[in-house]
């Protein structure tokens, strides 16, 4: 019979020291009881502390991925933000689908900059915009609804607007566009849920088609299958949330160790020199996201090739032009849907990660907006007057950044509240 040795650690009370023998089933039963106690204890502790609540995205057959409804999220990767998602998966309190009387609804579609999980809800520019408009236009109740989801590309924003935002009968759709819009439209092999997104293509006439190949392929991978199998745990277990963050940290550590070992004793190399990619134009294009936090380097490494920053930026600009017809087609589709729903569309420029902007992309957005007759404003230059570390965390807005951005867009949005939708 299997035996377990047991003892009590008692440095100060040696009279209690004893060694007893337990049978294997006593050992098993006791371990089971302790495990149950530990699991329940940890779940309670983590729930009270609000930790293990960082995973909130689930696979979605239409959007690629979408927030889990009714999920409480506590993000701490940049600033410390908390959000309670409502039954429709919006980081907002419960909202009725039918618009209340004397209410003006603005649906803000976008990515993580709009979602703003780095700050409290009351600090986001969406919330602040609602407050500012109510002050400016007394007598009307403004509901600025946040439809932002981290990692969404422009096509996903369009789908979210079409499938969800219009259910709330918005009077205006506000589309903040960022300087990596073209970059995230580029189909890439999925390395996780947020890159297993649907991709959009435009034919010569500007007709859009959606391709779910990457999404479907990823779901069949071991990571995809694991995510589908663990859906319940991801949604409900705080311990699972902590494990997944710990695993990510462990993988980061492993990566750091590999790099660090190569140059033992030197500082662990950082990310700016390692871009993966092939040599064709589209893959040479890099987002400003990747080099937002560092000073512009003189050279870049793409695969095993070192290229000068001039050729790097040339390649990026070529990539933007290469993909622009798709951006153009998606914005046209958004506008068409808005006209069908009798809703105004307004575009505003958002800065890129950490405040970096891309003049070419902004110019092309303006060109598209002008052509389609969509009001467009770029007020990001005003943000550049403030110290970067006060306005941004590594990538996203700080509370001050949200406050400043609200001030930049509130009058522009106000001017367009009752403008007529223009047919392209």
């Amino acid at each position: 019979m299997m035996e377990c040795k047991t003892s009590i650690a008692t440095e100060k009370v040696p009279e209690l020291k004893r060694v007893v023998k337990a049978t294997w089933y006593q050992c098993f039963f006791q371990t089971l009881v302790v495990l149950v106690f530990v699991v329940l204890g940890l779940e309670s502790i983590f729930a009270l502390a609000g930790v293990g609540e960082e995973e909130y995205l689930k696979p979605d057959p239409v959007l690629g991925f979408a927030p889990m409804p009714n999920k409480h999220v506590n993000k701490k990767d940049e600033g410390l933000g908390q959000a309670q998602y409502n039954e429709y998966g919006l980081p907002e309190p419960a909202l009725p689908l039918d618009k209340p009387a004397n209410t003006y609804r603005i649906a803000v579609i976008g990515d993580s900059f709009v979602e703003a999980l780095q700050v409290e809800r009351k600090d986001t520019f969406c919330y602040r915009l609602g407050q500012a408009l109510e002050k400016k236009y007394p007598g009307t109740h403004f509901e600025v609804m946040n439809f932002g989801v981290a990692g969404y590309n422009l096509g996903q924003m369009y789908l979210r607007m079409k499938t969800l935002a219009f259910k709330f009968h918005p009077d205006m759709v506000l589309l903040p566009v960022r300087s990596d819009t073209t970059f995230v439209l580029r189909p890439t092999p999925a390395i996780g849920l947020t890159t297993a997104r649907p991709y959009f293509f435009a034919d010569g006439k500007g007709q859009l088609s959606v391709d779910y190949t990457v999404y479907k392929t990823w779901l069949r991978t071991s990571a995809g299958r694991r995510m589908q199998m663990t859906g319940w745990l991801r949604e409900h277990s705080h311990i699972w949330g902590v494990v997944s963050v710990a695993v990510q940290q462990l993988l980061g550590w492993q990566q750091g160790l590999v790099e660090g070992t190569k140059a033992w004793g030197a500082a662990v190399t950082n990310k700016q020199t390692a871009f993966a990619g092939t040599t064709d134009t589209a893959n040479k294009m890099q987002s400003t996201t990747n080099d937002a936090t560092v000073a512009a380097p003189k050279t870049f490494k793409i695969g095993n090739t070192v290229v000068s920053s001039k050729s790097y930026y040339d390649a990026r600009d070529k990539g933007i032009r290469y993909f622009w017809p798709i951006v153009d087609a998606i914005i046209s589709a958004i506008q068409k849907e808005c006209i069908t729903q009798n809703c105004r569309l307004v575009m505003v420029q958002l800065p890129g990660a950490g405040g970096i902007t891309n003049p070419l992309e902004t110019a092309m957005f303006k060109q598209t907006a002008d052509r389609l007759g969509i009001p467009f404003a770029d007020n990001t230059a005003a943000l550049a007057k403030h110290p970067v570390n006060k306005v941004y965390y590594q990538i996203h807005f700080t509370p001050l950044g949200h406050e400043l951005y609200t001030k930049q867009i509130e009058s522009f949005v106000g001017q367009n509240l009752y403008s007529k939708a223009v047919k392209p």
Binding site: V38, A49, H238, V245, A246
Partner: protein, 486 residues
């Protein structure tokens, strides 16, 4: 390699397993190699520094024992080597910066022109733990000079110098205690190992779940102290730092002691509930005990200690504390911190003399209410002194104190309370654990001692749960150990 890093939790189990598998004669050498790997994982070149100092001090100790006639010369030589190394790495830039400031200040009165800006700072990276191993070497040569036996085995001496659980931030070991444990390393003691794991986990929880969460609050307050800080914010930040430094340093010590225990070595304890001290002298008997006893034995007593005139005694006390402050870091705010403690200790001594002559005051102090008042007053003094320790400069500390005491604004404008939930939960969990632990050790609560002993798998599950709780409650950005910079 930080004790709380993933690297350490891979490094240590490997060392632990190899150590207990290895034949007896190879264990010390293995520990020595592991200690050098641990140290050199930071900057490999500085492994040579510690090696060189070890060789020099080994020969100085051996020579002190062999050539007693020249012992004074050898002692001075040893002190110059160790203090010189410490001063070069730690105080060169401090001295240069102060010299530059001084020359700039007196330039108008100088008969010749001198460009103070020509005094450039030197690019020196402070080797990790240099203050600690320099003090251990000084203790060694001083004790051998006084007649203690030198360590004969070079490997034993090198292991004493480099022993990784205490290498970076102490506790400052006494070589006599360490060496006498070496022959006892033969057998694996499960009780000792279990205590080691408990200490390791306790330290991990203190560091990552408590100290790192407190650091978020303290940093927000102190990093914005140059701007207007509300009174409540200033107090919260000062309070947060007071507990941050305790959990950080005692957590580090627990992890070091735990690791050492698992390898069969006992390291001295460094803390004994310091914030329950009833006076400043009591505080220094409970806070960083290995440093305070070192300062007493190798600085305060050689200066004359307390067995001299009161004025001389206070002078000795002040010099000891000022140098103790400077030991913590090459900056004036550390000196101010030391000076403040020196001043408070002098007041404490004076007051003790005053109380001694008045029995009614003695009774008042012995009363529970008197004790609570003494603990509160001592805590407040310690809290205020930590402001000098944490601030970047003396001016910064004074502006923080101004916010705390002179500008009464109640609003909390700077601190974000969204960090508070994990901290509150971690503090509650730790308080319950600490209370149960104290009750367990107290004979009045013998009935609480567990009747059921846990099997090894059950214990492993429990320990895994504690480690997991610590990891879960930790903030995403870990802070380095505060005492690493010293």
């Amino acid at each position: 390699m930080l004790f709380s890093s993933i690297s350490y939790f891979i490094f240590f189990p490997i060392v632990f397993a190899l150590y207990w598998i290895a034949p007896l004669r190879a264990r010390r050498a293995l520990l020595l190699v592991a200690s050098y790997v641990f140290y050199m994982s930071w900057i490999p070149a500085y492994g040579l520094l510690i090696m060189l100092l070890t060789v020099l001090n080994y020969f100085i100790g051996w020579s002190l024992e062999s050539f007693r006639k020249h012992s004074k010369v050898l002692l001075v030589f040893g002190l110059i080597v160790n203090l010189g190394t410490l001063c070069f790495f730690k105080y060169t830039n401090f001295l240069l910066a102060n010299l530059s400031d001084l020359l700039r200040a007196v330039a108008p009165w100088m008969p010749f022109s001198f460009d103070a800006s020509s005094i450039q700072q030197v690019n020196i990276i402070l080797p990790l733990g240099i203050s600690f191993f320099a003090f251990e070497f000084i203790h060694y040569i001083c004790d051998v000079y006084k007649g203690s036996k030198a360590i004969r085995s070079p490997i034993d001496f090198a292991l004493f110098a480099a022993f990784f659980p205490s290498q970076i931030a102490g506790p400052i070991k006494r070589y006599q205690d360490f060496i006498e444990q070496l022959p006892n390393e033969a057998k694996f003691d499960p009780q000792l190992c279990n205590q080691g794991i408990v200490l390791l986990l306790q330290g991990l929880f203190k560091k990552i779940a408590l100290s790192d969460n407190l650091a978020l609050l303290a940093n927000q307050g102190f990093n914005s102290a140059n701007t207007a800080l509300a009174t409540s914010d200033a107090w919260i930040a000062a309070m947060a730092f007071t507990f941050q430094i305790y959990f950080d340093f005692s957590g580090y010590t627990d992890m070091g002691r735990g690791s050492a225990l698992m390898l069969g070595y006992k390291l001295p304890d460094n803390f004994n509930f310091p914030y329950l001290a009833t006076s400043m002298s009591d505080f220094w008997k409970r806070w960083h005990i290995s440093l305070s006893t070192w300062l007493r034995d190798y600085l305060y007593v050689p200066l004359g200690g307390g067995r001299c005139s009161p004025l001389r005694k206070y002078y000795n006390l002040m010099v000891t504390m000022l140098l103790g402050g400077l030991w913590h870091g090459a900056a004036w705010h550390f000196v101010a911190w030391g000076g403040l403690h020196g001043g408070l200790l002098i007041v404490n001594h004076k007051y003790s003399d005053f109380v001694e002559r008045r029995p009614w005051l003695q009774h008042a102090h012995a009363h529970p209410v008197g004790k609570v008042l003494s603990i509160t007053l001592t805590f407040m003094m310690v809290l205020v002194s930590w402001v000098f320790f944490r601030a970047e400069t003396v001016t910064h500390a004074l502006s923080m104190l101004k916010s705390m005491f002179l500008e009464f604004e109640a609003s909390s404008a700077v601190l974000s309370m969204s960090t508070i939930a994990p901290l509150c939960v971690a503090l509650s969990v730790y308080s319950i654990y600490a209370l149960l632990n104290r009750m367990h050790d107290n004979s009045s609560f013998v009935f609480l001692r567990p009747r059921l002993s846990l099997t090894i798998p059950a214990r492993a599950a429990l320990y895994l749960g504690v480690a997991f709780a610590a990891v879960g409650l930790a903030p995403s950005a870990p802070s380095p150990f505060i005492y690493f910079q010293f």
